[in-house]
Amino acid sequence: MSKSYFDETHCAIGHPKSTFMQWMLTVDHKRIGLMYAAVMFTFFFIAVSTALLMRFELFAPGQQFIDGDTFNQAFTLHGVIMIFLFIVPGIPAVFGNIVMPLMIGAKDVSFPRLNWFTFWLYIFGSAIAIASLFTDAGFADTGWTFYAPYSLNTGTNVIFTLVAAFVLGMASILTGLNFLVTIHRLRAPGMTFFKMPLFVWGIYATAWIQLLATPVVGITLILAIMEKYFGIGIFDPSKGGDPVLFEHLFWIYSHPAVYLMILPAFGIMSEIIPVFSRREIFGYRTIALSSASIAGIGYLVWGHHLYTSGMADIAKTVFSLLTFFVAIPTGIKFYDWIATMYKGKIILSTPMLWAMGTIITFAIGGLTGVTIAMIGVDIHLQDTYYTVAHFHYAMLGGVVFLFFAGMHYWFPLVTGKMYDESKAKIAFYMQFVGFNLLWFPMFIAGFLGMPRRYFDYLPEFQIYHQFSFFGALLFIAGLVFMFWVFYKGWTKGEKVGPNPWHATTLEWHMPTSPPPLENHSKVPYVDFDPYEYHHGEPVVKFDYETMRRID
């Protein structure tokens, strides 16, 4: 019986005997990815619970369960965890780690020790963020955007959150650096950029954003800390500073960060659609280059968050125009995915259901984003529930849904086992229906003037909040059920071979299932395109011992 990566590992320091220490010190990219997943989803559920608490409070006007200040801390906690602890590390930290090196035929990332250090930096940053929950002043109440001068004046514990965001940003930069070098240096011989799987393209585009945009928010957070504790006047108008400057600096990072989240998710979509259509993807180069162009243009559109901030009208016009340019490559990807399904053989397994569900929810998220890219309309909708619904459709209904799609898709790769397909489908339908019931009413409430971050609201908005509440219950029930299906699959699931989905990319050509410590037995030579099918079966076949083609 050959050994998998669960049985043996390389460690950063020494050769510990205990299994626990082997996990803590592991430098294996697959184990690190799994540990990221475990920690991130723990935080994810904390943030989901916080959101549920807010939904309970918002079920009726007036105060029921928590007071205004607690509510303000709750949505800050929700935002900080979801953004900085969950979705920014997100898909790159989990699947970028687990799958990307396998896809390019590498033994690990370029800097495995740095990868290990980065993981612990992430844990350290998360611990700082959470620690402020247990201090006297309490968790920050600024919202995850930390807008000055509120963040400089509030009595709550903003310093912990700012430092945490800085440390987590550092972890993000190092992850990006590591992946960039890995993709440039460790691709299997023969694998040119245009022979890489599209998920690797997504990770690659993202890595550049992590490396180049994150320092801006790091500097901004340092300036905010200097301002708050040493009284220099950068953002605080009472000291001669300018609060709008903070908004600019913050969004110079945080808008590209949105693409940092979505591009790897689009990568997952591009993996799943051809595999479950059993044919080559339509428009490979277009999809690859659209990822790169989204990453590029994405740097120049941050000002669309500031249409009502007091910015000059000419600047608004330029930012609006540039924003429309981002919508174009995104739209093209969608048509390419749909065209991939044309005359294929559509297998509606759970990963494909999630991918198709996401096409619906992300289309809504993207198109409502176009609404608020229109300046005049955004002046009405900015900071309302319309905006809240838009970014949850894009982030939850886009990034996280595709994250879930990837979890179903790569589950047999990671665990060597299969979950219960019919139960997993029920979990999908519960979440899909619950999700739409939860968020769609907010578009209407927002259009009618329901501002975001309101602890209490005018009675005519009650009906929308109540729909959302029941949607949230259904969504969370589906979410818990999905994780239960994963748990059962992992503990009791049927063993499957290395390639249960009949997929083509290299991560499915492993000598053992789950994969061994150092991945492929030999480094393969890549003289083929990533999604080559003939009559519904993968063209390229390997002898898994020698990694020579046998087709």
Partner: protein, 392 residues
């Protein structure tokens, strides 16, 4: 807070129709783009479902130049139509009318209240109000700011489709021209802390004549009785004290309630508490929340004077639960009839009878026996009646 989002769909501001037009153009184009993705997806998923397709029938189509050009160029054209409408509606919203043809009102947003300062009228009097009163069909320019030690707010009138941040240390501008008489909600749309979700105000669009009459008078609000409220109360409201401290009830908003505060502390202490709030913080409250207020001594004396003479009649009106059944600020019928303007319709003797023996004369449309007789000391009854008469 009882409040309603009044007049949302009335197309109340001249540019609201343009914003809505842009929104609906966007809506229909979005529907087209959405269907152009989702319909083929569902159709293909059904048409090429696994049990209907033989492996040999799978086609490998990876490029189709004309199709790719079509789905690049057509949506691009649609997007630029949307960009144009976003731009053109913004132009209308953001092109300020000439100040000479407008009323320029200064808006101050601060935690957690709005106040409005008008230009001086003919007699040199400057109106400072807590709600905005404007004449119909008139360009209004709002010059908005927040105190330097405050935070960001946003002045948002959903009915007018307008919003702009209020930034400490900057003056931002908005304008509107309303064609429909009515009352519209103002909301704070930029997160500003504890009572962000209670930072409402109202825009009252009133007939020109009514506005002019009020503007040239010294009345606090149009339609307010001539009974002048005390200078202290005016200062209490215009400085936003009411945003954090209730004075009629025991409710704790942000700071402690000031109900009956005049009887508990002497003037020296109260003055200190305004000028230097952190000097003595009551138990359970945090230092640093309330900013020091630098006001002229005379104003502070007026406010303290107001603390010493809060409206006993109003207190009794609320303490006895009258407000639970009778609205007094509006015409709304809660359980019994509204008492708005009752002082002008009935004399004191009738009102006293109506409190002590309600069933003696029940107004048409209401039922006898619903309201219990109230047995109160004569002095209290007179106070309540005085309050009813003074309420607008």
């Amino acid at each position: 807070m009882s409040n309603t989002l009044e007049g949302f769909n009335s197309q109340a501001a001249t540019f609201a129709a343009d914003v809505d037009q842009a929104f609906w153009i966007n809506f229909w184009i979005s529907i087209i783009l959405f269907l152009s993705v989702v319909v083929p997806m569902i159709y293909f998923a059904w048409k090429y479902r696994a049990d209907k397709v033989k492996n040999e029938d799978i086609c490998k189509v990876t490029h189709n130049t004309s199709l790719e050009l079509a789905w690049t160029l057509i949506p691009t054209a649609m997007l630029f139509v949307l960009f144009y409408y976003g731009y053109s509606s913004m132009k209308i919203l953001r092109t300020m009318p000439a100040e000479s043809q407008s009323i320029v009102v200064h808006v101050e947003g601060k935690k957690w209240s709005w106040n409005y300062t008008y230009p001086a009228n003919k007699s040199g009097y400057i109106h400072k109000t807590a709600e905005l009163y404007v004449p119909k069909d008139q360009n209004i320019i709002l010059k908005m700011t927040a105190p330097l030690n405050d935070v960001l707010h946003a002045f948002y009138v959903p009915a007018f489709r307008m919003k702009e941040d209020v930034v400490p240390g900057r003056i931002t501008k908005q304008w509107f021209n309303s064609e429909v008489i009515g009352t519209y909600d103002v909301e704070c749309a930029e997160y500003c802390g504890t009572r962000h979700s209670y930072m409402y105000s109202k825009v009252h669009v009133i007939p020109r004549a009514e506005y002019d009459e009020w503007f040239e008078s010294k009345k606090r609000t149009p339609g307010a009785p001539d009974v002048k409220i005390s200078k202290g109360q005016e200062l209490y409201e215009s400085n936003g004290c009411a945003g954090c401290h209730s004075i009629d009830t025991d409710a704790v908003l942000v700071g402690p309630s000031l109900k009956g505060i005049g009887a508990k502390y002497d003037a020296g202490y109260l003055k200190d508490a305004i000028v230097n709030p952190d000097k003595d913080i009551p138990e359970g409250f945090t230092a640093g929340v309330m900013p020091p207020f630098t006001l002229p001594d005379a104003d502070i004396d007026e406010i303290i004077n107001y603390f010493n003479n809060t409206d006993k009649g109003k207190e009794l009106y609320e303490a006895n639960g009258c407000a639970g059944c009778h609205s007094i600020d509006s015409d709304a019928i809660l359980v019994g009839p509204s008492l708005k303007g009752i002082g002008g319709k009935r004399d004191a003797a009738y009102l006293k009878d109506a409190i002590l023996h309600p069933d003696k004369d029940v107004p048409e449309g209401f039922t006898a026996g619903v309201m219990p007789p109230f047995t109160l000391p004569d002095a209290d009854v007179s106070e309540i009646i005085r309050y009813m008469q003074s309420a607008k």
